[in-house]
Symmetry: C2
Subunit: 139 residues, 2 copies
């Protein structure tokens, strides 16, 4: 995800308006590597802006997702997480505490899935890897 300042420009460029709610969410997401859920973000946002609604959080997250600024990640354990890191990376998910960490798997290694997939006549657009296990803290 780009910086809040750049996002502001990008939204304006698309004819979208900049509201205090959106600015707040831009800030909360900026550099956030905690893989928060919509509800997580809402909880933090509401502390700063009591009038903000959960609906607006979802709305803004969808807008950002549509612009490719964030990714929605379904880790198969509860609600969808949002990830402002759109670089090529994957996730380690702790089966005990549920926390997710980023992991950078060798792209070349995964790229070699393509010939295999080719046999299926599949046109690949993305490869997601979820590594499940127990994190250092939970062992």
């Amino acid at each position: 995800m780009r910086s809040p300042t750049e996002l502001t420009a990008a939204f304006r460029h698309r004819g979208l308006r900049i509201t205090p709610q959106r600015e707040l969410l831009f800030r909360l997401l900026d550099g956030n590597d905690a893989h928060p859920t919509a509800d997580d973000l809402y909880a933090v946002a509401v502390a700063e802006m009591p009038s903000i609604s959960l609906r607006t959080v979802y709305q803004t997250l969808h807008d950002l997702q549509a612009m490719g600024e964030i990714h929605a990640v379904d880790l198969g354990a509860g609600p969808i997480r949002f990830d402002p890191n759109v670089e090529d990376h994957h996730h380690l998910v702790c089966e005990v505490c549920g926390r997710a960490e980023d992991v950078h798997l060798d792209a070349g290694r995964l790229a070699s899935t393509e010939p295999v997939v080719g046999d299926h006549g599949f046109e690949v657009s993305a490869v997601e890897v979820i590594v499940r296990g127990r994190c250092a803290a939970c062992r």
Copy 2:
């Protein structure tokens, strides 16, 4: 998943009872590679046994899952799918029609994620790969 006959024995062995509902679901899952949802299975089951309830379908799927006979797969698109194929494999998901196909990625290739993961102090129990794209029919 083992055959319906073997499952019957396995359930009995565990002190679980064999009911017509369970027998029906064993049959519907046997060799089923369509990655059905609980509701999919219910729809087919109800055609044959109008009195069966969705609740029972979920219940039986959980039982089978607890016995390791099937896997629950969250493809990040709608409800959970159930997969009687518990061999080591991964999934291709079509972003257009939503269908899922099995794909056998080279295990050795994925196993080499372990040293990378090791840096995080993570104890790996499973690696799930979802390949997204468009299937042959949807291109």
